[in-house]
Assembly symmetry: C2
Homo-oligomer: 112 residues x 2
DNA sequence: GCTTAGTACTTGGCCATACATAGTACTTTT
DNA sequence: AAAAGTACTATGTATGGCCAAGTACTAAGC
């Protein structure tokens, strides 16, 4: 058990929320998302993002269309489905509550 | 894939941070922690908390002493070790950064 | 004294996800 | 035709939260 590992664990689930949010703002493809996630220091690698997108698509939260690219192979541009929007709403609520709960606990100082 | 599952995933790692924080405030035993975590709506069950405490103890972050109880079996009262305090500091930083990163992403609104 | 209820802690198995790594397929450049 | 770059796929590992059943001790009821 080390700190790095806990940091990895902390990202679990939150990443899904962030990805849904990014897609909710307009059509994007994987590399766009990687750039934004990296910029926000929500460090993610290809091998994490692509399987996540596939999971979300299979769950019916996303859909995509192929778009030809001028510099390389075609890209999958993702958009949220209605179901995806609903899930995003729920996750937003969950995340807000989680932050609130954590704050409730970590804002207390020692009583001894 | 369902929302509940993601909610469970979101808790990963964060729970560890919360537990360390609770213990950092003074000696407590498991039921105390469960009460506080439940009060903060950070829903946790016995089967999650006890193994977590054992992991943290084996990692050298916690130590405990048995204390006789007037109403039931003896209790393990936990305290943080020096190592535990250091880890807590790091996790605090990690958590703050994660909240910040998530905010960076989720505060943007759609550009389309 | 024996059973019942309550409290505190333990254990084993399951599942989902983040990650590492390697690989496929297509396009453009040289 | 070969090399480099881009976009996506596939497989295997490790970890932590959860469920469910179980152990052990104390106190109360009959």
């Amino acid at each position: 058990m080390n700190v790095e590992n806990t940091q990895v664990q902390m990202r679990k689930g939150i990443l899904e929320y962030c990805v849904l949010h990014i897609i909710s703002r307009g059509e994007v493809y994987a590399s766009d998302m990687l750039d934004e996630l990296t910029a926000a220091k929500m460090i993610v690698v290809e091998g994490t993002l692509y399987p996540l997108l596939t999971r979300l698509k299979n769950a019916g939260l996303l859909e995509y269309k192929w778009v030809e690219s001028k510099s390389g192979p075609p890209r999958k541009y993702y958009t949220l489905t209605d179901k995806g929007s609903k899930v995003l709403e729920q996750l937003t609520k969950t995340w807000d509550e989680l932050v609130h709960s954590t704050q409730m606990i970590t804002s207390k100082s020692r009583t001894v």
